[in-house]
């Protein structure tokens, strides 16, 4: 942790508005991108960003300097988004799906798709696939952790991940092929 971040956190613990704003400015853009991945639209993402930072400011005394601050912040944002899902009952976890056997073929595709476009693809996934994919593939949560977070079986988590991968792979491949065609023309 840098000195300046440490001072900013101390200021936040002391309820200083200026420190809170500095912390917000440091992390809001990255957390906004996180919120966009876990919500259905920008309005909902705004609410999560707002609620998440309010929780951060209220609970920042509990941070105690252990671990990576950004990781702590990110977990709060994700938990806030998941709580919203649970509250609005968006979750409809698919319980059984057989994985596609040719999933490893993706390693042969070379494509430079913009992050914004990948974000759009993820957001087109059904909610349950999107959550599991985000948590496992991008955040690095294990299936056991996901099962506890979402209240589902580990097998269900794996099944949903597999389904999400299939959909994403098809879309990425399609984009890649379109780009090749455009390049040939």
């Amino acid at each position: 942790m840098t000195d300046s971040l440490e001072n900013i956190i101390k200021g936040c613990i002391g309820s200083k508005s200026a420190s809170r704003e500095m912390l917000y400015r440091m992390y809001s853009n990255k957390m906004w991108a996180v919120c966009l991945r876990y919500t259905r639209d920008k309005d909902e993402a705004k609410d999560i960003l707002q609620e998440g930072f309010i929780k951060v400011f209220e609970k920042i005394k509990q941070y105690e300097g252990r671990g990576h601050f950004e990781g702590w912040l990110r977990r709060i944002m994700i938990n806030t988004a998941l709580a919203e899902y649970r509250k609005k009952r968006y979750l409809n976890i698919e319980t059984a799906y057989s994985a596609n056997k040719d999933e490893e073929s993706f390693e042969h595709i070379e494509s430079d798709i913009a992050a914004e476009e990948l974000l759009e693809i993820i957001n087109e996934l059904p909610s349950q696939y999107k959550l599991v994919f985000n948590l496992h593939a991008i955040e690095g949560y294990s299936h056991k952790e996901i099962s506890e977070l979402l209240g589902i079986e580990e097998g269900t988590s794996k099944s949903n991940l597999s389904r999400a991968r299939d959909i994403l792979k098809r879309k990425v491949t399609a984009i890649h092929k379109t780009a090749i065609k455009l390049g040939q023309q």
Partner: protein, 529 residues
């Protein structure tokens, strides 16, 4: 199935692109977060402060009620028993809320309404529609009447000192009943407050009355209290009527007090009420005026005319303003398309654009008047040239600051609102003792007299004009908790913590609902007549 821990290129691809991806967060989110954090803090402060204040008020009320209740009341069971045991057959006991009952000593029981009971062989008590008739001695109680009359005091302009009630001596000074100049009148009303003030009737409190022995002639005793206890002595020879009930008392009074006032923004469309509430700063306001009261035994109705001052303190608005010390001739233009105002100065040789709040000596209505435009080019109108010492503009909008002398000493912006208030309030007496306690509520029509905005500089106050957005008429709800006690024969003192909340929005703008509220304490006197 996918093996956990096994490397997946698709996952890696997305993770590499998105894990540290950043996108510009919405501009307004921080304002919302900040305002909500401030509001949470203020709610905590208000809750703690309000709880402490409420606890103190409750403790004071309980203390006052207990003190006066225990020290001055005969209503305890033991005292009541002591008195009635001496009265023998002829006793009447009445209770609250017009529920009249007759005490039958022979059966040691009470009668309810619409019942007839003989106390002894030759004296009947008839209870019929809250009316008691004591036949042989013509002792009648009628709750709907407003008089207690005892036709049993002798002479005119005379007085009798009562040293005992059926052999029981009153505590403290002996009581004196005096007859007036006209037959049938007593100069002393039989109310507790007056009796206590006169030093007599020590043990006769409000809602209690005793008819005393050896009162001979027809003289009325008047009371505005309902009777709890009525003791009739065997020695009364000629008493023939007793009427109890309420008497209307009129009073003219004056009240004034400081108030803690704040404005609540609610349900704004497209705006952020949390944000606006967070930048509203409470002010100390004041209210004062005259009132007229009509009081019965338990109810009081009040109306009057009050002058009220309620300010609005807008720190945040002041932050967005800048004072330009010009000390020079300026020329003012307006761009009709933009809605902004151009000001040029020969010395700075520099025009700037800003939302102009105030130019010294130029009426705000002129600055806001689109009719002062013409079609001659984009900056179409010429307002005129004028020597000014200051110009106030929205700081964010200044497009050129070259050679402009900016004064950053703005402390705050205050909107001073003056109202005439016309309340209609009903109060109910919950404690009827030496110090009466009322709960009151009502509505109040507020008529705006003026609403002027000022900017407080470090060493100066600048008027920035009359607000055009405050409604001329608005309505408030009122809730009060009044303590009232006599301080002279016909003068009562009142202390009343009161809460008022504007029911209607006072802002003309339909996109924003503004509800001022205030908490404070009235104090004043009223003259009974």
């Amino acid at each position: 199935m996918i093996q956990e821990g096994k490397r997946n290129y698709l996952d890696d691809y997305f993770r590499d692109k998105l894990f540290d991806y950043e996108s510009s967060a919405p501009d307004d989110t921080w304002l919302k977060i900040d305002s909500r954090m401030k509001k949470k803090k203020s709610i905590i402060i208000w809750t703690v402060t309000g709880s402490i204040a409420a606890s103190i008020l409750i403790l004071i009320s309980i203390g006052v009620g207990y003190y006066f209740g225990s020290k001055h009341s005969l209503r305890s069971e033991s005292n009541y028993t002591e008195v009635t045991s001496k009265i023998k057959e002829k006793s009447i006991h009445t209770k609250e809320n017009n529920q009249k009952v007759a005490f039958n000593r022979s059966s040691n029981s009470y009668l309810g309404s619409n019942q007839t009971k003989t106390i002894n062989s030759d004296k009947n008590i008839n209870v019929n529609n809250n009316q008691l008739a004591y036949n042989n001695n013509k002792l009648v109680e009628n709750s709907k009447s407003e008089m207690i009359s005892v036709n049993s005091i002798s002479g005119q302009n005379t007085s009798k000192q009562i040293t005992s009630i059926n052999g029981i001596k009153p505590q403290g000074k002996p009581c004196t009943l005096s007859s007036g100049a006209n037959p049938g009148e007593l100069t002393h009303a039989f109310s507790s407050t007056e009796a206590e003030r006169e030093g007599g009737l020590n043990k006769i409190e409000s809602r209690q009355a005793c008819l005393l022995n050896k009162i001979q002639k027809n003289k009325p005793i008047v009371s505005n209290k309902k009777i709890d206890l009525l003791a009739v002595n065997d020695e009364i020879q000629t008493s023939n009527s007793i009427n109890t009930g309420s008497k209307k008392i009129w009073a003219l009074g004056g009240n004034a007090g400081p108030f803690y006032s704040a404005w609540k923004v609610d349900n704004s469309k497209g705006l952020y009420p949390d944000y606006y509430n967070s930048v509203e700063k409470p002010n100390v306001a004041y209210t004062g005026g005259l009132n007229v009261n009509m009081e019965t035994s338990r109810w009081r109705f009040e109306s009057g005319v009050y002058y009220s001052r309620s300010d609005q303190n807008l720190d945040e608005a002041a932050k967005n303003l800048t004072v330009i010390n010009n000390n020079d001739m300026v020329t003012i233009y307006r761009s009709d398309n933009e809605g902004d105002i151009f000001i040029s100065s020969p010395i700075t040789n520099d025009a700037f654009i800003g939302r102009v709040w105030k130019v010294e000596g130029v009426p705000k209505s002129n600055l806001d008047d689109p009719a002062r435009t013409n079609s001659n080019g984009y900056n179409s109108v010429y307002y005129g040239s004028k020597n000014v010492s200051y110009i106030i503009v929205s700081s964010n909008n200044i497009q050129s600051k070259n050679n402009i002398n900016v004064d950053n000493t703005i402390k705050s912006m205050v909107q001073k609102n003056n109202f005439i208030q016309l309340p209609i309030i009903a109060g109910y007496k919950i404690i009827d003792r030496k110090i009466d306690v009322f709960i009151s509520s009502g509505v109040c029509a507020n008529i705006l007299l003026s609403s002027k905005a000022y900017i407080n500089l470090k060493n100066d106050i600048i008027s920035v004009g009359q607000s055009q957005t405050i409604r001329t008429f608005s309505y408030s709800g009122i809730l009060g908790f009044a303590f009232e006690m006599p301080i002279a024969k016909k003068i009562n003192f009142r202390f009343e913590p009161r809460l008022s909340y504007s029911i209607s929005s006072i802002d003309k703008n339909s996109n924003i609902n503004v509800h001022p509220y205030a908490f404070g304490a009235f104090s004043g006197v009223s003259f009974l007549f």
